[in-house]
C-alpha cells in the first residue's frame, strides 16, 4: 500500500469557471494536466507522488457542471454534482432509485458530500500494486504484480482480465449502465460526444492504461438518464468487507420490466469482477420471456460466471457473483445462497 509521505509536490492550480477555459488549460498541458473533481482519488495520487502533473484543473467553480435537471422525460446530472446531491434529489429517488442506492453505498457521508458522480465513475482502480507506483502494465510497464503466484489478489478480477487483473471500483457505474445512461463528453479537440455508459468504460484488452474512454483533454460534463427505465423494478446490492465504508468486492445492479411474473426486458450489470463494469448480455438474453422465479435465476446465475478465472485469493468472488446475479433476477426474499 502506498504511503502518504509529506505535502504534495508543487503544481500549477487552475480554477476555471467555464468548460471552455478548463479545456484550454487541459489542451495546453496535455498529458501533464490532471483533472480534479471532488479530489478524493486525486489527492492520494498527488501526495504519494505517483502522479506528478504540472497543472491541476479544479472543476469545482464551473457552475454548468453541477446540478440535476429534467431533460427529454429523463434526467441530466452534471458531472460535478456531488453524490449526496444525487442521493437527495427527489426525482432520482422516485424514478431512478437504483442510482440513489448505488450512490448512497459509496464510501462515507463525508466523502459523498465532497465526491462527485463524474469522479465516481471516472476514478482509477484501487489495485495497490498499481497505486504503489510500480511499473505494471497499467502504469506503462510489462508485468502485472497482482497476477503472480504469490500476489495478494483477493480484490482482483475473475473475468475479462487481459494481462491486468485490476477491477473497476465505482459504485454508481453499474447502476448507470443498468439505466442505459448516456455520458456526455466534451472532446479535447472540440465538439461533444455522447457515449453509452457501457462504452464509457474500457477494459485492459482495449487500453490497459485507462479505465474510461476519456483521452487527455476530454471532460465528462454530464450523465443523462433516459426515461426508458424510469420507475422500473430495480435491484442493487454491494458486498464489501466493512459495511460502513469500503469499496465493493462485488456489486450487482439490474433494471427489469415484467408483465405478471414474466420478465419482458432486463439490463443487469456486475462490478468488482473485471476492469470495467460488466453488462451480462447473455444473461439478459436468456431470462427475457422467462418467468421470474428461482429456476430462471439459477440458470442465469450459472451462465453469468461462465469463463470466470479466479486468482489465488479471489475464488470466493465466483459464488458471490453467482448469488448476487441470482438475487437480482429472482429478488432477495426467495433466494437462497449457495457456495
Amino acid at each position: 500500500m502506498a504511503v502518504i509521505r509529506d505535502v504534495m509536490p508543487a503544481f500549477e492550480l487552475f480554477q476555471p469557471t467555464s468548460i471552455e477555459d478548463a479545456q484550454a488549460v487541459l489542451n495546453r498541458y496535455g498529458t501533464d494536466a490532471w483533472v480534479l473533481a471532488g479530489g478524493l482519488d486525486s489527492l492520494d495520487w498527488l501526495k504519494d507522488r505517483i502522479k506528478r502533473p504540472q497543472a491541476v484543473v479544479d472543476l469545482g467553480a464551473i457552475a454548468e457542471l453541477k446540478g440535476v435537471r429534467e431533460r427529454d422525460g429523463g434526467l441530466e446530472i452534471g458531472a460535478m454534482t456531488t453524490l449526496t446531491e444525487v442521493v437527495r434529489h427527489p426525482s432520482v429517488g422516485e424514478r431512478y432509485s437504483i442510482l440513489l442506492e448505488a450512490a448512497e453505498a459509496a464510501a462515507s457521508p463525508q466523502i459523498r458530500n465532497q465526491g462527485t458522480i463524474g469522479g465516481n465513475v471516472s476514478q482509477d482502480t484501487r489495485c495497490w500494486y498499481y497505486r504503489a507506483g510500480w511499473p505494471c502494465y497499467r502504469a506503462g510497464g510489462n508485468i502485472c504484480y497482482a497476477d503472480t503466484p504469490d500476489a495478494i489478489n483477493r480484490e482482483h478480477a475473475i473475468l475479462g482480465a487481459d494481462r491486468c487483473v485490476a477491477v473497476n471500483p465505482s459504485d454508481t457505474a453499474p447502476a448507470l449502465i443498468a439505466l442505459d445512461a448516456q455520458m456526455v463528453v466534451r472532446r479535447a479537440g472540440g465538439g461533444e460526444r455522447i457515449v453509452s455508459a457501457e462504452d464509457y468504460f474500457v477494459g485492459p484488452a482495449i487500453d490497459i492504461t485507462r479505465m474510461t474512454m476519456l483521452e487527455p483533454g476530454d471532460l465528462l460534463t454530464a450523465i443523462r438518464l433516459p426515461a426508458t427505465w424510469a420507475g422500473a423494478q430495480f435491484y442493487f446490492e454491494k458486498i464489501r468487507d466493512r459495511q460502513v465504508w469500503d469499496f465493493a468486492l462485488v456489486s450487482v445492479a439490474s433494471a427489469m420490466r415484467t408483465t405478471g411474473s414474466t420478465i419482458d426486458r432486463i439490463r443487469i450489470v456486475v462490478n468488482g469482477v473485471a476492469a470495467r463494469p460488466l453488462r451480462l448480455a447473455a444473461v439478459e438474453a436468456l431470462v427475457q420471456g422467462r418467468p421470474r422465479n428461482e429456476g430462471t435465476a439459477v440458470v442465469a446465475a450459472n451462465l453469468a460466471i461462465e469463463g470466470a478465472q479466479p486468482l489465488r485469493f479471489n475464488a470466493y468472488k465466483v459464488p458471490l457473483m453467482r448469488n448476487l446475479v441470482k438475487r437480482a433476477i429472482r429478488g432477495v426474499e426467495a433466494t437462497t445462497w449457495t457456495s
Binding site: 507506483g133 511499473p135 510489462n142 503466484p149 494481462r163 474500457v202 487500453d207
Partner: protein, 278 residues
C-alpha cells in the same frame, strides 16, 4: 527522443520496461524514405538492364530449356504466404493500438506469433532437406556479384556475374529477416509465459527483472525493425520491374526468358528435363 523506457521495480532498482515507441515511427519513416529514395533513383538513374536483343540471343541458344522454369515449390510458396499472413497480423496487432487504433489485440498477436514460429520451423526443415539450402545465403563469395550489381546500377556495362537463383538484394533481405524474425520469435515465445495462454502456466518470475527488460527491448527492437523491412519488401514486391519475382511466388515458375535475362545459368543451373529442385 528516448530509445528505451525505464521503471523502478518494487526493490527500487531501475529496470528496463520496453523500447520507446518513438522508434516505431522512426522505423516507419525510414521505410518510407527508403521507398521514396529508391523509387526516385530508379526513375532518374541510368541503371543497366540487359538489352532485349541480348536476351533474344540467349533464349535462341537455350531453346532446350522448358518454357516455364520452376522457381518455388508449392510447399515453399505455402510457407511464404502463411508467414506473410502471420507477419502482417503480428504487425497490425502490435502497432495499431500504439498508433491509437485500439482493439483486443493480445490473443490475435500470440496466435499469429505461434503460426509464424511454426512456419519458420517448417521452413528450416524444408530448406535443409528439400531445397538448395545455400542458394539463399550471402558470403564473401558474393563480393564480385555485389561489385557488378553496383556498377550496373551506376550505368556501367559489366560482364561480371549475375545472380544465381536469388538476386543479391533478395539474399541480403533474407539474412536481415532471419536475424530479426528469430529475435522476435525467440523473445516472443518467452514473453508468452507472462500472459494467459493454454500452453504455459503464467510465470512472470521465470527471469529476473533485468532479463525480462532485455527480452522486451529485444522484442520491441525486432518488431519495429520489421516495420521498415516489411515496407521495403512490399515495395519491391509491387514494383513493376520486380513483379515477375512476385508472380513466381504465386505461380511457382518464371518464364525461360526471365530466367535467362535475370539469372546466371552457371550459378542456377536448370536441366531441360525439368528436375530442378526449388
Amino acid at each position: 527522443m528516448d530509445f528505451l523506457t525505464w521503471g523502478r521495480n518494487p526493490w527500487d532498482q531501475p529496470i528496463l520496461t520496453h523500447i520507446s515507441w518513438d522508434l516505431l515511427w522512426a522505423s516507419f519513416f525510414a521505410g518510407i524514405v527508403f521507398l521514396v529514395a529508391h523509387a526516385s533513383y530508379m526513375v532518374f538513374s541510368a541503371h543497366r538492364k540487359r538489352h532485349a536483343a541480348e536476351t533474344d540471343a540467349m533464349e535462341a541458344a537455350r531453346a532446350d530449356l522448358p518454357e516455364r522454369i520452376p522457381r518455388h515449390s508449392a510447399a515453399a510458396r505455402l510457407f511464404h504466404w502463411v508467414m506473410a499472413s502471420a507477419m502482417f497480423t503480428l504487425l497490425i496487432t502490435a502497432f495499431l493500438p500504439i498508433a491509437g487504433i485500439r482493439f483486443p489485440w493480445v490473443t490475435w498477436h500470440w496466435i499469429a506469433g505461434l503460426v509464424l514460429t511454426g512456419s519458420i520451423v517448417f521452413h528450416i526443415v524444408h530448406a535443409t532437406f528439400w531445397l538448395d539450402f545455400w542458394s539463399i545465403w550471402v558470403g564473401p563469395r558474393d563480393l564480385p556479384e555485389l561489385k557488378a550489381e553496383v556498377l550496373r546500377e551506376l550505368g556501367h556495362e559489366v560482364p561480371g556475374p549475375r545472380p544465381g537463383k536469388y538476386p543479391l538484394g533478395n539474399r541480403l533481405y533474407h539474412l536481415a529477416i532471419v536475424v530479426v524474425a528469430l529475435a522476435v520469435v525467440a523473445s516472443g515465445l518467452f514473453m508468452m509465459v507472462r500472459i494467459r495462454t493454454p500452453f504455459f502456466t503464467r510465470n512472470p518470475y521465470l527471469f529476473t527483472d533485468a532479463t525480462w527488460g532485455v527480452t522486451y527491448v529485444l522484442h520491441g527492437l525486432a518488431g519495429v525493425a520489421l516495420v521498415g523491412l516489411v515496407i521495403a519488401h512490399v515495395y519491391f514486391a509491387v514494383r513493376p520491374d520486380k513483379w515477375w519475382i512476385t508472380k513466381s511466388m504465386i505461380l511457382g515458375w518464371i518464364t525461360r526468358r526471365q530466367y535467362l535475362e535475370h539469372h546466371d545459368p552457371d550459378r542456377w543451373a536448370i536441366s531441360s528435363s525439368r528436375h530442378e529442385r526449388t
